[in-house]
Every structure is written in C-alpha cells, then in structure tokens.
C-alpha cells in the first residue's frame, strides 16, 4: 500500500515495549509506588486524560493518515470500550471519551496490532505532528509534507531531552503555498519548499498559539536546508527547554518566550546553538529521506481523460449531487481525480463525531475508492485524497446511505467545536449543543451555499481547542458568575493570510448566540460585493458596522 508509512520489525518492537511499559506504570500506580502527581504526566504522554465523567484516550494519527485497517480497528475499539463511537479532534487525532483505566493496556495492545498508539497526544512534550490533509494530492504542493511528518514523528518520539518541556509543543508542516494546516497557530510550523538550487528547504516559524494569549507564529528562518532541519529543531527546542518560563503554566508556551525575548534576539540564540550542533550527528541523511519518501510514493493512478463524462452527466442529472460537488471536492494534481471531504458535520450533529458503523463504512469505501487511505483533517472531517471523478457519484450515493454526504465542507455548517462542558474538565461553557443549534438554524444547504465560505470555530474555554481566535466567526465560552456567556469575534483566519479575530462586543448569553450569528450573516449578505467571502467583507468594511447591527447603533 502506498501513501502510508509501513512499520517494520523495529517499529513494532518499540511499540510492544512501550505498551508493556505503560502496563507496568499502571501497576506501579495501583501499588502506590507512583503518586498521582507522578503518574499523571506518564499517562498523559500515553494519551490518557481524566475528564469530567470518565477517562478519555486520545489516539495519535500521525500527520493525519489512516489505513482502512486502522480505521476498522478504531471502530472495534469504539464498540468494545466506548459507546460505539469516536471523536476526531482539531489535531487530526481520534478521542474516545468513555474509557476505563483498567481497559487501557488492552486498548493500547489492540492499537499496536495495527501499528497505532496514543504516544505524545498529550503532556508537556512534542505532540503528534499535523499536516495538510491534501498532501500528495494538492495541485499547488511543492514538497510532500508527509515525508517530513514521518521524519519528525520518529525524531520526536520519546525524545530523551525534550519530554519534560515547560509546556506542550505542537508542530505543523505543509508543503504548499496555500496553508491548509493552520501553520500560524503552532509552536513551530514548517513550510517545505524548493530552494533556489531546487533542493528541499524549510521556512521555520515559531511562537504561534491560541489560549488566553493568542499569537500568530513569526518567521524564524526562511531557508533551513533539508539536511539541517533536525539540528535546527533541536536548537529551537533546547533554547525553549532551558529558557521557557516554568513559573506560570499560562506563560510557559514558547509563544511567551518569543513575545518576551523578541523574535530577533531569540533567533540569535537559536542560530548560535544551531551553528554549534549542525555537524554530522544531527545531519539528516538524504538516504534516510529517500527511504521514507518511498513509503509515500504516488498510488497507482489510472491514466484518465481530463473530463469525466460519467461525472458531468451525474452532476447535470442530480442537483443534490451537484451541490455536494460544489462544496466537498478539492482539485487534484492527477488528471481525472479529485479530493473528497466527508464532513463529520451532519445537520444538528456533534462536530467530529463518528459511529463505529460509519467508521467501518468509511474503511470499506476507502478500499473501494481511495487506495485504502483515510485522512482526518484539522477541521474535524475525513478526506479521501484520491478519488476517480468517474467514481464520485457512486461514492456519494454510498456516503449518503451512511449519513456522511452533507454538502457543507467549508460552509457555515462545517463548524469546529471542542468537546466543551459536556466532557471536558477545563471547560467553562458548553460548545457541542451550541454547534448543534447553529447547525440546525442553517440546516438549509442551499442557504449555506449561498452564504459561501464561512468558518465558525468554537471553544468552551480560553484554552481555545476549538481555535475560536482564527474562526471567521469565533465563539468563546466564558463563565460570568456561574452563567455561560459567549464572546464573539469576527475576521479570524487560519490560512496563509492568518489573522486573529476581533471582539465584536460584550459577551452574549447562551440562547442569544445563534441569533447573533444569524444577524452577522444577514448583514454580510446585505453588504457583500460580488465574489466576497464573509471575511473579505469584514476586512473591507471593518468590525464596527457588524457590531452596530448586532448591538444597535448606540453600542
């Protein structure tokens, strides 16, 4: 199978040993040899959180690539150990929300059987690396980011020096000029590109992050050679590990170090370290890169004509299919193929949730239509990267049977939301029921298509797992004297034109949020010029007119 990194004996041995190690850690905790304080980071580094009602296990999907066999294994775990479903997150991972501690070693064993794990999906370490969900398929891609995603997965796995960092550390990577991986909100972001000599090099950004002090990442170096990328990251992490703040959990991310020291001064420190260590030890051998690149060779594409007669006929004959094609297809570099987004955002549904039956259906359809590969996106959807246009109608019919063909990718119903107060111990407010409410309000898909691209992102607390700062409309749950209130921002953007949203006005109550969103949308529809998206109109006329529309002109 192409497009997936295939484990060998060594990778499997590592994973088996790691499962055993965690089994013993659980035993030592139960025997009282480890205190809860000591056990906590160990379980977190194995993806195990304690939430409001139960343990949550977050499973790593490195750089967002799953095989159909892995998807079936997840379905089986969901059925056996959860309540028959799972939840895809904004970091391309999958969470089970109803896990028993005693089951965890068995679940980790079941994951290891399909070369999966939950390593470094939490904790103050280098987290699972994320990337562009259309890697290897997007026409604008210069370099395949999965190759480097895998290299970074390996390098960061149980890194002996960087496992007890001041705070979590998230890396995203893309190989395209168009940013589908939300680079600007990551601790470190890499854009792979062809350098002046044609060889692969990287733009390195640092210090992005949301939470209570949101910052967009800043450029650190616009040309780090491929062979130096590990050394460069070692230097970044070493400076952060030594000088990142440890006195205050809210100031411990690297974004605060960048903010307090200044990116220019920090660059000096990092590059001085880099110059010291860039020798042979950390050099990324081109042979290693090529060995890993071979795992991501293009699948055996058919040679197809540019135009698919069957596809065009189906589109003409079936308006519902045509509508789905308008929102849920992505262009493909291979003639006759398209990328497909399966949104996990049915009307009134929970963003990112998927039942075990649906997972199995998706696995079967991936085998039939997309080389056995499924990719969760940071927008909590699933991607079939390579589908023949001839097959799109047949795929759509099958997806529809499983309630997976909602024609709303990138539209107002395609909401990102964190689990919120329904699951999460950190949350101040609910987010899931609110997302469901908004989704119901805009249930009319023709209306959604008329509104066009509009990304709502919602978090139930300041930690911003739902990326509200970079939502076209951002919604943040806050607690005001025990009452759920929601602060609304507009104009945020997570792409290459990244921006933090601006606060619209005073927070609104739970039952006012959907009306407020609708007012914003109506005002946009009145004001927009031809071809303008919601955020384009916000950029042109500013936040103030929107504010006046929502709060009245006295506001």
């Amino acid at each position: 199978m192409s497009g997936l990194y295939r484990y060998d004996e060594l990778d499997r041995r590592f994973l088996a040993e790691r499962v055993e190690q965690f089994r013993r850690q659980v035993e030592r905790r139960l025997a009282g040899e480890l205190t809860e304080e000591e056990f906590r980071p160990l379980r977190l580094m194995n993806g195990l959180y304690l939430q409001l009602h139960a343990y949550m296990l977050r499973i790593a999907v490195p750089y967002g690539v799953l095989s159909s066999a892995q998807m079936r294994a997840l379905a089986a775990i969901g059925r056996r150990h959860d309540r028959g479903y799972g939840h895809f997150t904004t970091r391309q991972n999958l969470q089970f929300n109803w896990i028993k501690l005693v089951d965890v070693p068995e679940i980790l064993g079941a994951l290891a059987a399909v070369d999966m794990h939950a390593i470094q999906t939490s904790g103050n370490c280098i987290r699972n690396v994320t990337t562009d969900q259309f890697a290897g398929a997007a026409p604008d891609e210069a370099v395949d980011p999965r190759v480097y995603g895998e290299i970074l997965r390996q390098w960061s796995t149980l890194h002996p020096e960087f496992t007890f960092l001041p705070r979590k550390f998230k890396i995203a990577i893309t190989g395209s000029p168009h940013d589908r991986a939300a680079l600007a909100i990551h601790d470190v972001a890499l854009r792979a590109k062809a350098g002046a000599d044609g060889a692969v090099c990287f733009e390195v950004y640092v210090g992005g992050g949301l939470g209570r002090s949101p910052f967009l990442a800043k450029l650190l170096n616009d040309q780090v050679a491929e062979q130096d990328i590990i050394a460069y990251l070692e230097a970044v992490l070493r400076i952060y590990n030594q000088y990142g703040r440890r006195d205050n959990i809210y100031k411990a991310r690297i974004k605060i170090l960048v903010h307090e020291v200044g990116v220019d001064k920090l660059r000096e420190q990092i590059e001085a370290e880099f110059d010291r260590i860039r020798g042979p030890k950390f050099r990324l051998d081109p042979e290693i890169v090529e060995t890993i690149r071979a795992h991501f060779a293009p699948p055996p594409f058919d040679t197809l004509p540019a135009e698919s007669v069957a596809f065009e006929q189906a589109r003409t004959a079936d308006p519902e299919f045509a509508r789905w094609c308008r929102s849920n297809l992505a262009p493909h570099r291979q003639t006759g193929y398209a990328g497909v987004t399966i949104t996990l955002k049915p009307t009134g549904g929970i963003p990112g949730d998927i039942t075990s039956e649906q997972m199995e259906a998706v696995a079967d359809l991936a085998d039939r239509f997309s080389f056995g590969e499924v990719r969760p996106s940071h927008e909590q959807n699933l991607i079939f990267a390579h589908v023949r246009k001839n097959d799109l109608h047949a795929l759509w019919i099958e997806l529809r049977r499983h309630d997976l063909a909602t024609a709303n990718a990138g539209l107002i119903g395609d909401i990102i939301a964190c689990p919120g107060l329904d699951y999460c111990a950190l949350a101040n407010a609910r987010s899931i029921p609110l997302a469901q409410q908004i989704s119901e309000r805009f249930a009319d898909l023709d209306r959604q298509h008329d509104i066009g691209e509009l990304k709502i992102k919602m978090s139930g607390c300041i930690n911003a797992c739902g990326h509200h700062h970079v939502g076209h409309i951002g919604i943040l749950g806050v607690d005001k004297q025990g009452v759920e209130n929601y602060q609304i921002t507009i104009g945020g953007d997570a792409t290459e034109t990244a921006a933090l949203g601006q606060v619209l006005g005073p927070a609104v109550k739970y039952d006012e949020v959907t009306d407020t969103v609708e007012k914003l949308v109506e005002f946009y529809l009145e004001q927009r010029r031809a071809g303008e998206r919601f955020i384009d109109t916000v950029a042109r006329i500013g936040v103030r007119p929107f504010k006046e529309r929502v709060y009245g002109s006295a506001a």
Partner: protein, 166 residues
C-alpha cells in the same frame, strides 16, 4: 539516605555533599553549590582533593563552562521531576563543552526518566531511600529502540532509529 545508582546498580558514594552553611571544607571529594564556588573559589581552587559542583534547575551549563576543568563531578538538581531543564544541561555539558567527568542527577527523579537521563549524558543518579530499585533497574531496558541520537549514539540502525538497551 539516598541510594546512588550507576548502570541500574547501587554503588558506594565517595562524595560528600557540602551544605553552604558548613564553614569548614573537609578533606576528600566534596560537592559544593555554585554560590559557594563563586564566593570561595580562590580558597577552593587550591585544594588537592576532587571537587564537585551542584546546580539548581535554573543554573545551566554555560554558568560553569569556564571552570569545568576544576570539577570532577557535576550534580544536577531536579526540584520536581517535571522540571526538565537539566536534560539539556547534561547534554550541553557533554556535547558542547566536552565534559567527561561524572554527571549526577539528584532531587525528585522517577525511574521513568532514567533511560532519558542516560541518553542525554547523566552517568549516575541519586534515588530516594525506599525507592523500588527493581523499577529503576528495569527502566533502562524497558524500551530498547530509540528514534533519535542520544549522547552516546553514533550511527542509527536504520532510518533515524537505533538500539539503545544495555
């Protein structure tokens, strides 16, 4: 009393850790704080017995780089096991400053960190009295594959990976 481990096994400790309030410096190997070294370096430099230095978690490798030739032991203190700064200190001592003496961990450390410690250059660790020494011994062999270069590693087995168990 703490137990001193090397390669997973208890070994005798010939060093005396000196409190800053103890005025007299005994004969034989002693470990002093960075503060005391800064204050009394003229007197201490004249001793014939081995000298060790102890760094708190915010005192990093560059703070002693110029004097490393004076120290036969560097003791790195973990106030909390989650404070991972000294993983970088040990590595810098070995790789940047080419320090070849003993690097010892002390304070709040847990067996689950032991393999990481050896891989960044620690040579010994003081574990609290009453610790389960079997857990410490096992910790060095629980995971035998590593995916990146440690201080003692040269070339990988395949890809980025290498075998690390003893």
């Amino acid at each position: 009393m703490a137990v001193l481990l090397k390669n997973g096994q208890p070994i005798p400790d010939s060093w005396i850790a000196l409190d800053d309030t103890e005025a007299a410096v005994p004969d034989g190997p002693v470990i002093i704080s960075l503060e005391r070294w800064t204050r009394d370096r003229a007197a201490l430099a004249g001793r014939n017995a081995p000298l060790g230095i102890r760094l708190k978690s915010h005192q990093l490798a560059p703070a002693i780089a110029a004097d490393l030739g004076r120290f036969e032991l560097v003791m790195l203190e973990f106030p909390k096991f989650r404070d991972g700064r000294h993983f970088s200190t040990a590595r810098e001592l070995r790789e940047r400053y080419r320090y070849t003496g003993e690097i010892r961990a002390t304070g709040h450390v847990i067996p689950d960190q032991y393999l990481f410690m050896t891989r960044v250059g620690f040579s010994s660790v003081e574990v609290p009295d009453g610790a389960n020494l079997e857990s410490w011994r096992l910790a060095l062999n629980e995971v035998s594959v590593a995916y990146q270069a440690g201080v003692l590693d040269d070339s990988p087995l395949a890809g980025l990976r290498r075998k690390v168990a003893l």
